[in-house]
Symmetry: C2
Subunit: 144 residues, 2 copies
């Protein structure tokens, strides 16, 4: 069972309807190999001849993000994009060349933050970690 099926099933369980626009958006999302924005998706959908409203794209992405089927990745430069994800806590490793994303868990991070929290009497409720660099493929295909 792929990502799309899992999303569809989950949304149905939550009482959301599976509409045409939502189907189209789900399909298109899987074509991205790098983080994408709502505007990019909208443009791509229209370019592909899919008739969808701007509001619907924003709303659907927000719905997926809320349910953790999409993660949010911030680039150092400031922009942020969505990436396909699975529910549950995870972090991302983003290639700054090709944009590919690798998800990972960071259990040891809890320890680090736990110690910090104790020392400062700060009650940590969540964190956000993201790493960027050059993926294996990109390292091989070009120098430096």
């Amino acid at each position: 069972m792929g990502w799309t099926e899992r999303v569809v099933e989950h949304l149905a369980d939550e009482g959301h309807r599976l509409t045409g626009p939502r189907r189209a958006i789900l399909e298109h999302i899987l074509r991205y190999s790098a983080p994408f924005t709502a505007e990019e998706l909208l443009a791509d959908l229209q370019k592909a001849g899919v008739q969808v409203g701007r509001a619907t794209v924003y709303r659907t992405l927000e719905l997926l993000h809320t349910n953790q089927w999409l993660g949010l990745v911030h680039r150092p430069e400031g922009e942020h994009g969505y990436v396909v994800a699975e529910p549950g806590h995870q972090h991302h490793l983003v290639c700054r060349r090709c944009g590919s994303v690798i998800a990972f868990q960071g259990c040891e991070l809890e320890t680090l933050l736990g110690g910090l929290a104790e020392r400062l009497n700060f009650r940590i409720e969540g964190h956000w970690l993201e790493a960027f660099g050059v993926c294996r493929t990109c390292q091989m295909t070009s120098a430096a």
Copy 2:
């Protein structure tokens, strides 16, 4: 030597001019105890009777951010704000009640990411970690 002096000295070294607007902005920045946005700063400056253009505020903040005298903090909800920082790698702990920010180093994080990078053959060039929760003061001043 305080933050402002260090910034002024650094900018001078880099060949930047110390203008009235820049002085005013530097002074105002220190008044914030929580992350602030360009628009907020602009409004506060005008409220204080300081005559500065919008573009100048944006440009100056970008200049400071580029030189790492300002850090960028992203809240889980999506907005992001600037916080006073020092050049060099550091992370932030943000209180979601009062917005106060504590900077910290995360040396052990290097280990975690190093192992990950090796396993995946991913060359990590940088990372970004931010934690949020409730600071000591806010824990004391209200329940839950």
